[in-house]
């Protein structure tokens, strides 16, 4: 019997609840282990010390304080009753603060759900401009983000070269049809230029992922929705903006099974 097993039996030993076989093994071990004998002595001294604590006398005024609080008239108005209920719940924020926080959260949720902040789809006139801008030689990275992403993705329809022609010299993952419209857009700020190629290499470990790396600043991944967390983990050291924000939820797109993610870097 090892020492940790012996220490797990100290309470049963104190309560005389060890059966004969356990008692015998316990005593045999203690007979040959001075460290356990010392631990048992300290254990018993601890229990005795705690049990010998003198009860404290409660301070005066507990009963009168209770009676005074019970005799306070109940607030008549709705806000007063809510505030009293809130105090009883014993939270550490005031009721107005909590109400304001909930209201703000509801407004933010409404805006996020309607993608007021996060629209990145090009308007028709912008798309036309982007298609024209996709001609060789144009520095698309200078275009606004909401136009460069569809442009970068849409370019595959225009270009005759393979999606992998512009890849760095690492082994390609599975070749996949180019993703036309991503479900999720992740924009990395202040990430090093080689991050996406590194991410591309690491993604080879996930056999269920389909990965395309059409540009130095763009990585397209189609993966099971349950793997979104793993993808976010890989990006943890860098500030990342995610759209829609609901993609940060563990249950995002659980019903869809697979999710298409576009990861874009913006050099500082």
């Amino acid at each position: 019997m090892d020492c940790s097993r012996i220490s797990s039996m100290f309470t049963a030993d104190l309560d005389h609840e060890l059966d004969q076989a356990s008692r015998s093994a316990f005593d045999d071990h203690l007979g040959s282990c001075p460290a356990c004998r010392r631990q048992r002595r300290l254990f018993r001294a601890t229990v005795a010390r705690v049990q010998s604590l003198e009860p404290l006398n409660p301070p005066l005024g507990i009963l009168s304080g209770i009676q005074a609080r019970l005799e306070q008239p109940a607030p008549a108005d709705l806000f007063g009753r809510l505030a009293a209920y809130w105090r009883r719940l014993d939270f550490s924020v005031s009721l107005p603060t909590a109400v304001a926080t909930v209201a703000l959260a509801m407004v933010m949720a409404f805006l996020a759900k309607n993608e007021v902040f996060f629209q990145y789809q090009a308007a028709p006139e912008q798309a036309a401009a982007v298609s024209a801008a996709a001609a060789p030689g144009l520095e698309r990275s200078r275009l606004p983000l909401h136009t460069t992403i569809p442009a970068a993705i849409g370019r595959r329809e225009l270009a005759s070269q393979s999606p992998f022609d512009t890849m760095p010299t690492h082994p390609p993952a599975i070749r996949v049809p180019v993703v036309q419209r991503p479900d999720v857009l992740m924009v990395l700020h202040a990430a090093p230029p080689e991050l996406l190629s590194q991410l591309f290499r690491e993604s080879a470990a996930f056999t269920a992922w389909r990965v395309d790396y059409p540009e130095r600043e763009l990585l397209l991944v189609e993966l099971p929705s349950r793997d979104l967390a793993a993808l976010r983990e890989m990006l943890v050291p860098y500030p990342v903006a995610v759209s829609p924000v609901s993609a940060l939820s563990p249950n995002y797109a659980a019903h869809k099974g697979r999710v298409r993610v576009a990861i874009r870097t913006r050099l500082p």
Binding site: F10, R49, P58, P59, G65, L70, S92
Partner: protein, 190 residues
């Protein structure tokens, strides 16, 4: 709590439910010392313990209707008291209330440097304070089982009922809690 005390308490609860205004006063007077000690050992602060005790009895007064069996008032009271203590402890912890009160706080007058022994250095009351401080520094689960068993002297069955855990779990938790407390008290026990 003995059977006769429990029966008396049950009678008081029945009387209170039937509108006897003095029954609540008697209930508070009977249980306030235990509840105050439980609260004090949980948060280790007199003012907070007093306020907690009042909160607990006010909740008792307001929610007595939810108690199904009057003869199980004590277990119900301790469940309610522990809930209050947990909530208050978390709130105080969030506010940094315990930050400067750890057992190893070098500014504490009760701090022992290595090599010092408590005999002749600390009186009985100071040693009691150290023990209470060590209990208060345990995790919530460890603290609760120590308070109920070693301070309140409850049976394993009663503790299992209050904490809503099986008997075997009560015993194993108690053993772990005592081992953790032993580690903290070695300085004054050696």
């Amino acid at each position: 709590m003995s059977h006769s005390e429990e029966n008396d308490t049950g009678d008081l609860v029945r009387a209170l439910r039937q509108g006897d205004g003095t029954a609540f006063t008697k209930l508070v007077q009977r249980h306030q010392a235990r509840i105050y000690n439980l609260a004090y050992n949980y948060v280790k602060d007199e003012e907070e313990a007093k306020d907690l005790t009042q909160d607990i009895f006010i909740t008792v007064h307001r929610t007595l209707g939810s108690l199904r069996d009057e003869d199980k008032f004590s277990a119900w009271l301790y469940q309610l008291a522990l809930n209050h203590c947990r909530n208050r402890y978390k709130r105080l912890q969030r506010r940094g209330f315990f930050r400067s009160r750890s057992l190893d706080d070098p500014d504490s007058p009760l701090h022992l440097t290595s090599g010092e022994t408590p005999e002749g250095l600390l009186g009985q009351q100071d040693q009691d304070q150290l023990v209470r401080k060590a209990i208060a520094s345990l995790s919530e689960a460890e603290k609760e089982v120590i308070l109920l068993r070693d301070i309140e002297g409850m049976s394993y069955d009663e503790i299992g009922t209050i904490l809503e855990i099986p008997l075997g779990t009560v015993k194993s938790k108690l053993n772990r809690a005592r081992l953790a407390l032993k580690e903290r008290l070695e300085k004054i026990l050696e």
